[in-house]
Every structure is written in C-alpha cells, then in structure tokens.
C-alpha cells in the first residue's frame, strides 16, 4: 500500500527545530566559530585554523587541571557509591521514620550550589567555623586556604555531603523494587546477609547505579560553583578543576579563541568518558 506523503508535515517539526537551533545548535556553532578565529574587534578577525587547539592542548596548566579533575571525579565516585548504597541499605523500609529519613537525606540536594560552598566555607574556617575549630581543638593543624591537602579533603568531603544522598535515594528506590520473594528465597537457601547483598541486591541495583554513576561522573567532571566559592581554586592551583580553568580563560583573560577551543575539547572528553562508562557497565551485564 502506498503511504500518503505530504511535505507540509515538516511544519509540525519546525517548532522543535527552531527551539533546538536557538538552545543548542547556534550557541555551539558560535563556539566552533570562535575556536578557529582570532578576534581582536568587531571588524578585526583572522582565521587561525587549528592554532588555538594546539595552543590549549600544550598548556601545562590544562594538563594539571585535567589530572586534578580525573582525581577528583574518581575520588568522589569511590566515596559516594559505597556510602550511598550503605545509607540506602540502612534506611528503614516503611513507616513514618522512613519518610523522615528521606526528607532529611534530600536536604543537601535542595541547597543551591553556591550556598553549599558558602556553608562549607564558613563551617571549616579555623576562626569561626565549628568544624575548623573542632579540628584545631583535636590538635590537628588544619587550614584549607593555605594547605593543598586540606583544601582537597575539604572539597571532597563537601561533594560527598552534597551528592551521596542522590546515590542513596536512587538505591533506596532500587531496593524497594526488589520483590519480597527474592529475600524469602535467599533465606530459605540459607544465604548470609552478605550473600543476599552480593547476589540479589547488588545485581538488582545495577540499573540505578548505572544512572547514578553517569550522573555523578558528568556532574563532578563539570564541578565549578562549590570549589569556586570554597577555595577559589586555591591554594595556588591545587583545587582548580577544568571548568574553573575554562572560566579563567574566557572571563578572566578574555582569551575567547582558546576558551572556545577548550570548551569543545571539554565537551568531547565528557562525551567520550560517559560513553566508555556506559558501555563498560552494559557489557558487564551481557556477559
């Protein structure tokens, strides 16, 4: 049977095309445009080809930020996943206490990101912060504005506080979805608590964990606001991650060409790594 064709139907797709063009395609093309030109003024622009890309990729500051970024993302993933799963397992399964726990757990997720930075900035100060003073009282020399290790620890602890609840909530939902019969069968099969976790709960959490890992990886890889407020990337460059490096290039130094070139590289890195994570987790499922 011949299907009727009517090219006017394309008009129905037009609103979406326009929206996507303005929200994604045009800004992206602008960035591509910047990345291959040297713009000195509205009428002074020269085509430079790959020059900015080469310039950015050879920048030792970028290399440093990249290594720190990978280190940061892997650290928070390594901490937030087990912690989130642990919290989800420990939460009560029903009743008022479970609702209460969920609300408390969700609180960090509701705090605006710059406020998170501010909270921890004050919380950890040596002179007026509770945590800072408590650590001092223990006789530990702690100063996140001066010591690189302290700054790192503070940024990581802040991120763990901020985002572990997300993993916990995802896992909690995943755990609730496991039919009771699985637990009953496990207890009849004489499975220990660890075996129940290892062979029932963990496999059933694979789906939510994939989402959790992807979200947390992408988000932590793009982290900007919290460390900016907390440490401003310091001391030195100790906590300068990729997006802060980018912001410094674009807004601080007005190097729009290199900034545009780097933005595209940054985007491709995230795309690539997310793809790698995703396929790795899916492949594991199939074998």
């Amino acid at each position: 049977m011949q299907k009727p064709t009517d090219n006017r139907a394309w008009l129905l797709v037009l609103p979406v095309l326009v929206t996507v063009a303005f929200s994604a395609v045009i800004p992206l093309m602008t960035v591509v445009n910047y990345s291959v030109q040297d713009i000195l003024g509205p009428h002074q622009r020269t085509f430079v080809g790959r020059e900015w890309y080469q310039h950015v990729l050879r920048d030792p500051e970028l290399h440093g930020a990249f290594v720190r970024q990978i280190g940061f993302s892997l650290s928070v993933l390594a901490l937030e996943l087990p912690l989130g799963i642990g919290i989800a397992l420990a939460l009560p399964r029903s009743g008022v206490s479970s609702s209460l726990c969920l609300v408390v757990l969700a609180l960090p997720l509701l705090v605006p990101w710059n406020v998170v930075g501010t909270i921890w900035q004050i919380f950890c100060r040596g002179d007026i912060g509770i945590a800072g003073r408590a650590i001092h009282a223990l006789g530990i020399d702690y100063n996140y504005t001066a010591d690189a290790t302290d700054a790192w620890l503070t940024v990581i602890v802040m991120d763990v506080w901020h985002w572990s609840p997300l993993i916990a909530l995802l896992c909690y939902a995943g755990l609730r979805a496991i039919p009771e019969a699985y637990y009953q069968a496990a207890s009849i099969d004489g499975a220990s608590a660890w075996a129940t976790f290892r062979f029932i709960e963990l496999p059933k959490l694979r789906g939510v964990l994939t989402i959790g890992i992807l979200l947390r990886f992408m988000d932590s890889f793009m982290i900007y606001t919290e460390p900016f407020v907390l440490t401003g990337g310091g001391p030195g460059n100790a906590t300068t991650f990729l997006s802060q490096y980018l912001a410094r290039l674009a807004v601080g130094q007005f190097d729009l060409g290199p900034a545009a070139a780097f933005s595209l590289i940054y985007f491709l890195i995230i795309l690539l790594l997310s793809y790698v994570f995703y396929t790795a987790m899916n492949r594991q499922e199939q074998t």
Partner: protein, 377 residues
C-alpha cells in the same frame, strides 16, 4: 524426609494503622488461618486448593518459616520448629514467580544453597550434576540463568530445593502461574516424576483444580482460612463434605438445589424427591437450611413423559432445557427446574437435547448428597 505436623496452628495478620501502632480493632481481625491440626505424611504429595485469599499461602509460609504463626506449634519429625527461621528448617520453597540469582550461571544457582551450608566441593558437584540431569538442565549449566525462559527458571528454583539432601518437604506456591500453557503440562509431569523418584514430600498450593487433582494424592480444599475437606481427588469428587468443595471442584461444579423436608422426601421447587429414610431422619434433626447437591455427571437427562405435570416417575424432576453447550466428548445441558438451574453432563449422543424442550431429570440417588448449613449429612 520427615513428617510435618501442625498442632492448632492459626494466624492473624496484625492490623496496623499508618502510625505503626497496633489498631484497637486487632481483636476483631479475622483469622487468615483458623486453628488447624494437620499431619503431612513423609513422601506424600499434597495440594492446598482454594480461591485467592483463602489462607493457603499463609499456611505455606508458616511451614517454611517465612511467617510465624500467631498460635499453635509446628513439628518436623517431632521437633518443635515454630520459632525457627527458614534457614534452620529443612524446607525448600518454590515461589509463584521464578526466583533466580541473575548474575550466576545455572550451575552456581543450583549450588548456592549447598555452598551457603558449607557442603564440600565434590558433593556439590555431584548433587548439581544429578539434579540438573533430573530436571533436564544439563545443557544449560554453564549459561547465565537470567537468559533463560520462565519455565527453565522455575526448574532452577525447584532444583535449588532438590539439591539439598536434607529437605523434609518442598513447598510450591502456585509455581506454574507464569508458565506458558504448552509447557505447563511438561513441568507438571516432571514434578510427578520427581515425586516418584525422590519420594520427597510435596506441598503444592494452587487455585487450579486440574493441577491439584492431577498432582496430589491428598487434596486439602481451603476457604476463608479453614480446611473444609481433606481427601483423595476421587473422594473430593464423589463425596464433597461441604457445598463449597462440591461447587469449587468440578467443571461445571456441583448443582446445589435449596430444598425443604416433607415426610421422608425433599421438596425442590415444589417437586417431591424421595430420599433414604435414615437420611431423612438426620435431616429432620437439622435446623439449618437444606441444600441438595448432585454433580452434573450424576444427573441423567430423559425426554419428558407425555403425561407430565404430576411426578409420575419417582426420583425425577421436571424441567425445561435452557441451553446446550457442545464441547469435545460431552455436552453440557443447562436446565431450569422452577427457579433453580441445573447443569447436566450428557455423554450419550443418542439423547436429544434441544433448548426450550421439556425434560425429566433423574438424580442418581447414591450420588446425591444432602447438606445442612453447607455440611454433608
């Protein structure tokens, strides 16, 4: 292998309000399982048959230890295990939906209960090979269990119960629900074969009478938390002790006709039907409403005699044919007698049955049962 004994076991589910406190209406909470004394003989095949919510799964979970009964004791081989957790009992259970460990191979799935109990490697291998062979799972042993079809998964669930050498009984909670009809009978035959080979006690919960009647040598019919009758499939068919059993078993179920007693006979829709004198005597002592029950298989359809109106032939009811269902080897004829409706199984093709025709129904007296208040007299 062992003997399972329930002594006055009963259960109520505590009603809890949303605040997690026991509601004051708890005393009023109905029994999910009314006090019950039962013995499951070693090596028997039992079926718990009843409609949804009749308490059969509750009873099963009490036996396996997933549920602790609110009253009574459970003995396995004379040992009180009422308070023992499932791990500490020699009971295996297969659930309605196949439960398998997704990340493991079929072989690991089968070995899991043994590994958890610290059985040595060689014995595990032997047992797994043996049970896989029995369940025809050998070709799939190396595969991931999650890739298999529902009936294969259910075999694995069953296999996890069978590998254990210590199991006193295998409990099956409607295990064929999610299995495709064309493999159901295969699995059912497999179960019978396993029961014959291993002589393990099977307790099978189902709401499907065909499953219950083909699998079990003892069927327990349950309704509203009570076991109404326990007996062989033949006994349940031929002499239901309760109107519910009569109606629930059989297809169509037993005909139940409300009746009253008048000097040595019962009156059904104004028509007299004589009954045995001793039965009449027992019926006379009852205050509860009487119901006459007869299975469709035990009613004979005859053409109406020419001089109908008066009951010229003793032991027959006059009626009108409403409907004729033709199916396979037998016809099911539905006839009205006054306001009551009877189903009649007609296997003889020679008997004419036309809707609208008058007919005369012969209720085989030795197959006709009189019930008072639902109980057989």
């Amino acid at each position: 292998m062992a003997r399972l004994e329930l002594q006055a076991v009963a259960h109520r589910y505590a009603q809890r309000s949303s605040l997690g406190t026991r509601a004051s209406t708890q005393e009023a909470a109905r029994y999910a399982l009314a006090p019950l004394d039962l013995v499951f003989r070693e090596g028997g095949a039992y079926a718990l048959l009843g409609p949804s919510g009749c308490g059969k799964s509750t009873l099963l979970n009490i036996i396996s230890g997933l549920l602790r009964p609110s009253e009574g004791r459970l003995l396995i081989d004379g040992k009180d295990v009422t308070a023992a957790p499932p791990q500490a009992r020699n009971i295996a259970q297969v659930f309605q939906f196949p439960v398998i460990y997704d990340t493991m191979t079929v072989a690991d799935n089968l070995a899991f209960p043994l590994r958890n109990r610290g059985v040595d490697r060689r014995t595990i291998q032997q047992r797994v090979a043996q049970i896989a062979d029995l369940l025809e799972l050998t070709p799939t042993l190396g595969k991931r269990a999650s890739s298999l079809s529902a009936d294969m998964k259910q075999r694995i669930s069953l296999g996890r119960g069978l590998v254990r050498t210590d199991v006193a009984a295998i409990l099956l909670d409607e295990p064929l629900t999610v299995i495709d009809p064309h493999v159901k009978w295969l699995l059912r035959r497999k179960l019978l074969q396993i029961h014959a080979e291993l002589a393990v006690t099977l307790i099978y919960v189902t709401h499907d009478q065909t499953e219950a009647l083909t699998l079990a040598d003892q069927v327990l019919v349950m309704s509203d938390g009570c076991v109404l009758q326990q007996g062989t499939p033949e006994a349940l068919f031929e002499r239901p002790e309760h109107t519910f059993v009569g109606y629930f078993i059989g297809s169509p179920g037993m005909n139940l006709l409300p009746c009253t007693l008048v000097d040595g006979a019962v009156l059904i829709e104004g028509q007299r039907l004589p009954i045995a004198p001793d039965l009449a005597k027992r019926a006379a002592a009852q205050s509860e409403p009487l119901v006459l029950g007869v299975r469709p298989e035990f009613v004979r359809l005859h053409a109406s005699p020419p001089d109908d109106g008066a009951n010229t032939l003793a032991g027959r009811l006059n009626g009108v044919i409403d409907e004729v269902e033709t199916g396979g080897h037998a016809r099911t004829v539905f006839a009205s007698v006054g306001g009551s409706r009877l189903a009649i199984k007609v296997t003889d093709d020679g008997v004419p049955a036309v809707p609208g025709a008058r007919c005369s129904l012969e209720l085989l007296p030795e197959r006709t049962i009189l019930y008072a208040g639902g109980r057989a007299l």
